[in-house]
């Protein structure tokens, strides 16, 4: 299962190492991880996308993260109403003849060209992972020279639907 997990952590040196080291030690595979500061000075937020084999392992992951002293809160937000975005920079082989064609491809994705050179151009796209991937697939035939992705960052929407059939991982269930 692919899960989106967020962790609120103390903004201290070594905290990223603690968290990734823990995931490594417990054999979890991180697909992407993004970290940044939050509205509170001393607190950072991490968003991981991880591949876990089953619910038991998922529960372990959340609990082990929670045990870290510098980790304040861990949530599996995969099944909640969330906003999730990532950004990708894609350098595509291109010349003046192709530029318009590529412009036409990226427009429906609301991506933009942010750099142009004689033989390439760089596209910036923001969105959910599947959208980013769809665009990358479309651009691949032109020849991708370089690709960089930030990984997903996400949080809950302001309003959560009341009726849910979310599985609960609380040990008090």
């Amino acid at each position: 299962m692919r899960r989106v997990i967020t962790a609120t952590v103390q903004n201290r040196s070594g905290v990223l190492n603690r968290v990734t080291g823990l995931l490594h030690k417990r054999q979890f595979n991180i697909e992407s991880i993004s970290v940044g500061r939050t509205e509170t000075d001393s607190i950072s937020k991490m968003t991981f996308v991880v591949e876990v084999p089953d619910h038991q392992k998922l529960e372990q992951l959340v609990k082990q993260l929670n045990k870290q002293i510098d980790v304040l809160k861990v949530s599996d937000i995969t099944d909640k109403a969330i906003v999730a975005r990532e950004l990708a920079l894609i350098k595509v082989v291109s010349n003046s003849q192709l530029r318009n064609e590529i412009q036409g491809i990226i427009e429906p994705f609301r991506a933009s060209i942010i750099d142009v050179s004689r033989d390439s151009l760089t596209v910036q796209v923001t969105g959910k992972t599947d959208k980013v991937e769809a665009l990358i697939d479309l651009l691949r035939p032109y020849g991708i020279k370089e690709l960089a992705r930030t990984g997903l960052t996400a949080f809950l929407r302001g309003h959560q639907p009341q009726v849910t059939d979310l599985p609960s991982y609380s040990i008090l269930k």
């Binding site: 952590v9 103390q10 040196s13 070594g14 190492n17 603690r18 080291g21 823990l22 030690k25 038991q56 529960e59 372990q60 609990k63 082990q64 929670n66 045990k67 870290q68 002293i69 510098d70 980790v71 304040l72 040990i171 008090l172």
Partner: protein
């Protein structure tokens, strides 16, 4: 609180450096015993300790691994955190085994390591090692002090984290320039750890669920782990078991949490546990686990473990619940709080005579057994003799391996906190230094280090410490001239190809002991042992006994790797 004001009254001198501040913080924590080894990066700390030498008993083991294992032994029997100091680089890396061992067995340690000065951290300076990187996966938490003014707070946090919740080791790495810097301010020691709030009181709903399950159960069994000992809940455990007539089995580390000679005791469960205990875990319909972590050496093949049972698990660490075994009734709590609550809530459950009869029959039919030998000393018989000679009330420490299992099987522990062994990490060389730490914590008790000839040779340099302190530790070397458990597995599973497991060349342990001015003895026959054993334990001083036992004896019964608890071998002669 003003640290300076307090220190003036206690030491008569103003703290001057970061190291003085550290030492003062240790005094404030009530530390009186330090296991340490000096070196370049901790020179300022050792200077401060010298000035405050009236306040501490400093134990100079001869290798940092000895320091940390001694601190573990001290922590296990006293319940107080063991305090360790080592220098940067090799000093710190020599601690790694002990720190990992303490992590696995939830022992409270506060370990201070020197670090090179901040200006050269990251430059591969002399005796620099990335202690934070190395110890992060094997500590409950670790700190590198970045500012002198943080020292008092960090020390307080370290002791708090090490000794509350699920206990464990905390490392504090202190750059040399910080411990050497002069300070002249007062410091705030208040701390707040929003990410560390252990749950210690049980959820009443879950307690009720367990009480109800208990009434319905026809075949209940209690499994007591080290959590009962860490939570000081032995008397509550006994009261609970007696109230509901529940058979009790323990894990290796839980030995002593329930009296081994009690009629409800089934003995230890697991790979070398008793037949009755393992069958009880296999056949039960309700398994109440209190403070055990369902280690693979206990459960055997998980597909067969407690497969007919509703599992209830009381643990202070929520991450242990559901980790290996699916749990229907999870109770996150301190063991004492949960058992007290259960005692007050649960009505007496119906007696389960049939179940008890069955378990009693298992015990009667398949007790622990060994073939007695007339000419040679059976290791099991040796343990029984030690048990007799010490009235079953000594503090026993061991390494890992055959001697450990025989000690666990045949030294019937009846009291809590008498058993010090390396369970989770399974560390050779643990038992002897741990015995020194235990003896320091309990100077009036008999402490026996039961060690193997292999393990003893890993840390025997601590004989120096025994000599220096004159501690009356009794070291019994269960000498089979082999790495016994390795040899046993090679015999059983590798067609007797004894690859590097035979230690036929050995030092003369008697002369070795004598070179440290310690009494050394060798016993080779049962008569000799019978004759000498009272003398060993009446002697008021350290003794090293090289006890030559049957070389090819195996530990039975046994669950072969990958097998379930019901598939024991060597159950009967």
């Amino acid at each position: 609180m003003s640290v300076e004001a307090k220190s003036e009254t206690q030491t008569g001198a103003k703290p001057k450096t970061g190291a003085d501040l550290l030492v003062q913080s240790l005094i404030d924590e009530g530390v009186d015993t330090i296991f340490g080894y000096p070196g370049g990066a901790v020179l300022p700390i050792y200077d401060a300790l010298y000035k405050a030498r009236e306040s501490f008993d400093h134990i100079l083991a001869r290798h940092e691994q000895g320091s940390v294992h001694a601190a573990e032994g001290y922590a296990r029997v006293s319940g107080k955190p063991g305090v360790v100091i080592a220098t940067s680089g090799p000093g710190a890396t020599n601690l790694v085994t002990g720190i990992a061992d303490a992590m696995m067995d939830s022992l409270p340690l506060v370990v201070f390591t020197g670090q090179v000065a901040r200006s050269v951290i990251g430059t591969d300076a002399f005796q620099e090692a990335d202690v934070m990187g190395i110890t992060t996966p094997i500590t409950k938490h670790n700190y590198q002090v970045q500012s002198l003014s943080d020292i008092p707070r960090i020390v307080k946090e370290a002791f708090h984290i090490a000794s509350t919740g699920r206990k464990g080791p905390v490392v504090v790495d202190i750059p040399k320039d910080i411990s050497a810097t002069i300070h002249d301010e007062n410091y705030d020691t208040d701390f707040h750890l929003p990410g560390y709030q252990p749950t210690t009181k049980p959820n009443p709903l879950q307690i009720k669920k367990l009480a109800d399950a208990l009434v319905r159960s026809k075949k209940p069994v209690l499994l007591a782990g080290a959590g009962v000992l860490h939570g000081e809940a032995s008397s509550q455990l006994k009261a609970f078991a007696v109230k509901h007539s529940l058979p009790v089995t323990t894990t290796l580390l839980g030995l002593g949490s329930f009296p081994g000679d009690h009629e409800l005791s089934l003995g230890m469960a697991g790979m070398h546990g008793t037949y009755a205990a393992n069958k009880a875990l296999y056949e039960c319909d309700l398994l109440i686990n209190i403070g055990a972590r369902f280690d693979d050496r206990l459960t055997g093949n998980l597909n067969h473990f407690a497969k007919y049972a509703t599992v209830a698990h009381i643990d202070i660490d929520p991450a242990e619940i559901g980790k290996n075994v699916e749990t229907k009734i999870p109770i996150v709590s301190d063991s004492k709080a949960a058992l007290s609550e259960l005692l007050s809530v649960a009505n007496e459950s119906p007696k389960h005579y049939e179940w008890m009869d069955k378990l009693n029959a298992y015990q009667a039919e398949c007790p622990l057994w060994y073939e007695d030998s007339q000419e040679k000393i059976s290791p099991q018989w040796l343990i029984q003799k030690i048990h007799e000679a010490t009235d079953g009330d000594a503090i026993v420490t061991t390494d890992v391996g055959q001697h450990q299992m025989w000690a666990a099987q045949y030294y019937k522990f009846t009291n809590a906190d008498k058993w010090v062994t390396s369970g989770g990490l399974g560390t050779m060389g643990f038992g002897f230094p741990a015995a020194i730490g235990a003896q320091l914590a309990k100077p009036d008790e008999t402490v026996v280090a039961i060690v193997g000839d292999g393990g003893f040779q890993m840390t025997l340099q601590e004989l120096s410490l025994l000599q220096e302190k004159g501690l009356p530790v009794k070291v019994i070397i269960v000498n089979n001239e082999a790495l016994g458990m390795v040899r046993q597995w090679q015999e059983k599973f590798y067609d007797e190809r004894y690859s590097e497991s035979l230690l036929t060349v050995q030092p003369d342990f008697v002369k070795l002991a004598e070179s440290y001015q310690i009494r050394g003895l060798r016993v080779e026959s049962p008569e000799e042992l019978e004759h000498i054993i009272p003398d060993i334990f009446n002697y008021n001083g350290p003794v090293v006994v090289d006890c030559r036992v049957l070389k090819l004896e195996n530990v039975y019964p046994m669950i072969a790797p990958g097998k379930g608890l019901h598939e024991m071998i060597g159950v009967k002669p």
